[in-house]
């Protein structure tokens, strides 16, 4: 069976994770592109060969989402993997219609194919929208666990907006680490409150490596 050409629709968050966990070493697929929206200045870059694995020695290009229909036709795309979050159902189906109309399948990956198994116990803090209060909830959870004498680290959802190879695995323990990793304000908003409380927080691009 020939490989299925795939495009990953994402914005430097779940997209790279979906690729790393389900598609990077998957011989059934040939990922021809990522498409980006939501975050400024992501399109036009490349998911680098160093992270993309042996099947992608040239890396994988990132195009603006408005090129999607054209990409599907030009690159004979079979499947588009939706990898955004915080999107209304109507927008998900709008993108699905664009993808289906261009001839490709529309895919949503589930937890089984994308959740990494940790050797340490994991408590996840998620939310129903951006800005619900995850950060203060995570801090409260960590504070309670630490008060019980447990050693706890936080791992943050990715925000890799810079040099992806350099950002593969990041560890933040002191405020200077924010400068060292050239953090954006958006990254600092998430890491700094942990650091000032004495927690260590990890983030990056490759969550298996983390």
């Amino acid at each position: 069976m020939s490989k299925r050409n795939a495009v990953i629709l994402g914005a430097a968050g779940r997209d790279f994770h979906n690729f790393n966990t389900h598609l990077r070493g998957n011989e059934d697929y040939n990922v021809v592109a990522f498409t980006a929206a939501q975050i400024p200045d992501i399109a036009g870059r490349k998911y680098p060969a160093e992270l993309a694995g042996d099947l992608y020695p040239e890396g994988i290009p990132i195009y603006p989402e408005e090129d999607l229909s054209k990409l599907i036709k030009e690159k004979d795309v079979d499947v588009c993997v939706f990898s955004y979050s915080d999107v209304p159902y109507s927008k998900v189906m709008e993108l699905s219609a664009i993808v289906n109309a261009a001839g490709a399948n529309f895919m949503l990956l589930g937890t089984k194919d994308t959740c990494v198994k940790s050797s340490k116990p994991v408590i996840s803090v998620t939310a129903t929208r951006t800005g619900c209060g995850k950060s203060q909830t995570s801090r409260r959870v960590i504070e309670i666990l630490m008060s019980q004498g447990l050693k706890v680290v936080a791992i943050r959802h990715p925000m890799p907006y810079g040099d992806l190879v350099a950002q593969k695995v990041q560890r933040y323990a002191v405020l200077n680490d924010l400068t060292k990793h050239k953090c954006t304000i958006e990254e600092m908003e998430e890491y700094e409150p942990h650091i000032v409380r004495g927690n260590v927080i990890y983030a990056g691009v490759d969550y298996e490596a983390i």
Binding site: K120, S124, V125, T126, T128, R129, T130
Partner: protein
């Protein structure tokens, strides 16, 4: 132990041994209308209804009903995130510029944030509209997200955006600046106006609470 500190409304990248989902009664209904909120609402062991101090009873009830509909076995914790500020005098009776966390105002679609709540709580005379003073790439943000209104999102994905943020704050004609973003913004940009930071922590209301839930978790997994 690992705590997965999620982003947006995305589900965890790791298999959780305990799954906690935070819901927002200010945006009641979104938990079943935004992808992938419903995925982890359905799989949550614990759902926290936050912001109960500032949300209306209808929104709170709607979130409760939606949790009961898709995940009746979840432990539901009531909570609030009360705020405090460094210096209330920067706000009281003053015309203030309110800076909020960028993603919350942009793709998060919120029309208020911690800074706005603080401005009202501590008696600001007026929230000054930054739009006439906006420069550079920040202008594009207001074009893409016109509902941001009179708040200034702390956009800083690039060096240029940070410069534009600094200049916009400088140009805005106001008495003081309320910093609702959870970082020490003075470390990143030079603010030549009186300013105050806003802080908020999670407070559970009544029982069950997180101490109870986590105590059981620690015991169940023999972590002590």
């Amino acid at each position: 132990m690992v705590v997965w500190d999620g982003g947006n409304n995305d589900f965890s990248f790791y298999v959780p041994d305990l799954s906690i989902t935070v819901a927002d009664p200010h945006r009641a209904g979104d938990e079943l209308a935004y992808y992938p909120s419903e995925v982890h609402l359905r799989t949550a062991d614990v759902v926290i209804i936050n912001k109960m101090d500032s949300a209306g009873p209808e929104g709170i009830q709607k979130v409760r009903d939606n949790i009961a509909k898709v995940n009746p076995g979840a432990v539901v914790i009531d909570a609030a995130s009360p705020i405090k500020v460094d210096n209330p005098d920067v706000i009281r009776g003053k015309r203030v510029l309110v800076i909020e966390d960028g993603p919350t105002l942009t793709h998060g679609g919120m029309k208020i944030g911690a800074g706005t709540v603080a401005a009202h709580k501590f008696g600001a005379a007026e929230l000054v509209d930054p739009r006439p003073f906006v420069v550079g790439k920040l202008g594009e943000t207001f074009q893409i997200y016109p509902n941001i209104g009179v708040l200034l999102p702390a956009m800083g994905y690039s060096g240029q955006q940070i410069k534009d943020l600094e200049e916009t704050i400088e140009r805005t004609e106001c008495d003081g600046v309320v910093i609702g973003t959870p970082i020490d913004l003075n470390r990143i940009v030079k603010i030549n106006k009186p300013n105050t930071r806003v802080y908020y922590d999670l407070q559970e209301i009544g029982s069950p609470d997180l101490e109870e839930v986590l105590g059981k978790f620690v015991k169940k997994h023999n972590l002590k």
